[in-house]
Amino acid sequence: MVKKIALAVLLVVALTVGITLVKQMLTGEEARIRQRCQHLSTLLSMPPGEKLPAAALRAERLRGFLTETCSFSTSTYKLSRELSRDEVISRYLAVRRMLRSVDVLFKDIVVEPVTDLEATVRFMVRANATAEDGARESRTAPIMASLKKIDGKWRFAEFREETVLEK
């Protein structure tokens, strides 16, 4: 009986490893983009009590995720313009100064490769922020992002808030 259980466990492990490997081989680039999205959400999050040097370091790392210019279009914040990488970083740092903590989560990520060097990603962003005065705000939005592969790395070139329901 022990032999049977051991065999069954071995089979489940082998199947899991096999499926993961095949999935990785088939969707290598997709997985890389997905990972990039997850990494970006971690960078955008800010744990409570984070010191300024740590925030500056995060901002520097954020630079590597963006193309030279990045366009933003959101109906919620009435923003529709193209920003340079430096402008994005300075706005990001300005927003951080107003907040005590932010928790950003990208959920339900769907990757749609366009070409070998371009891709589109759809995901739901959920942000929970606490302002310096303790006020809390939570926002959820469907986002469509465009990515370009530059120097072997996927970089975000556009973020657009999708209109799901039009009143």
């Binding site: 959920k107 739901m124 009143k167």
Partner: protein, 164 residues
Amino acid sequence: MTKRIRKFFLPDLNRGFFIRLACVAAAAYVIFGHVIRPMRIRGESMLPTYRNGQFSFCFTWKYTFRRPQPGDIVMVKYAGRKVLLLKRVVAVGGQTVEFRYGRLFVDGELRPEPYASKPCNWELPPREVKPGHVYVIGDNRSVPMDTHHFGQTPLSRIEGGPIW
């Protein structure tokens, strides 16, 4: 009896067993991953028809051969495939939708809505639903109109409908 129970939980690991296992796994993947997807309802926009935390299945083939009709409850894709908005269709492409004193008017005619039993004070000027779109609203109209997620959406965003 004990032998039968033991055989059920610890079957012989022969070829037949692996074929059965593969068939069951494949069928479960197709059925629950693509045809009837399990889902948990979050939020109160469909009260009193659906409660927060309720469990249901999204039947993705529901609108394969027909279009959603007014009165149907549909699931609208939000961003990817997992997060869906649960709403009721009140009008289809070409029709006009408006709210007067909290009551729904379609093409200028008052529509009885027995499912929307909560008090409502919405005021919405008439607007035409674009072709290839449907106008969806949650049943819970007691929330302020600005905070309620509703409006027209393309048919391509309709993922399916709940089984119950």
